[in-house]
């Protein structure tokens, strides 16, 4: 089966990202395909490379990045939601005159069309959120 994953909540505040991670990992382990992981609302905060949890806690961002690296996952952060929340990659920093970036290189910024396309292409859209 081909899944699209939508994550609507930030890391640490809410379990949605953890649940989505374990679902995605289990689906891949079972041989399913993940068409795309899309981060929306506060979910965009899952993509911050500056995230620094205490050493005895899980690192939600790195964990996603490692899974993406291993399975070549397409992880997309919504540009409008990201801009509202100060999530910036190099392109957006240049375009908007910002002096720093914080998006982890394993994620990419794109538009909501990527979410709609994922819902069309996948057999199932799984929404994780409140």
């Amino acid at each position: 089966m081909k899944f699209a994953i939508q994550i609507n909540e930030g890391p640490y505040q809410h379990q949605a990202s953890d649940s989505a991670y374990f679902f995605t990992k289990a689906a891949l382990d079972k041989g399913h395909e993940i068409f795309r992981v899309f981060f929306y609302h506060d979910g965009v905060d899952n993509a911050s490379r500056l995230t620094t949890p205490p050493q005895d806690d899980r690192n939600v961002v790195e964990r996603w990045a490692e899974l993406a690296e291993k399975h070549d996952l397409d992880m997309v952060v919504c540009v409008a939601a990201a801009q509202r929340r100060g999530m910036v990659d190099e392109g957006e920093a240049k375009r908007n005159g910002k002096d720093a970036t914080n998006i982890h290189p394993r994620f990419r910024i794109s538009g909501l069309g990527q979410l709609v396309e994922a819902a069309i292409q996948a057999d199932r859209l799984m929404v994780f959120g409140d």
Partner: protein, 135 residues
Amino acid sequence: MSSIKKFLYLNRKAPYGTIYAWESLEVVLIGAAFDQDVSLAFVDDGVYQLTKGQETAGIGMKNFSPTYSALGDYDVKKIFIEKESLEARGLTLDDLQHLTWEDEDDDYAEKDSIRVLSRQEMAALMDESDVVFSF
């Protein structure tokens, strides 16, 4: 591209207090360009999203409720409200915006977009949808 899917945007939250309602509407507007079979459903506190006469100056938020009346222009013609959710909040259809769309095949007649469904009918709508976006 692949065949047309039945998209259901499920709106469950009040329009203000959190950003879910506004960011859901953004997905609906973008998604309208993809030529899918689109329905919007409003349940629980989501029914407040369509109340008329919203006034947000007091909370310093953008009043985005006029955008709902543009949905017809985006070819979003099917808007469903859950009867039980309305009743539980002391609301009736008269408390909501009157949303319409123009039927090209019927001399551009204005037709109502909103339909009230029972909880059971709402469950059936979710069941028959291919994609449910939950906000």
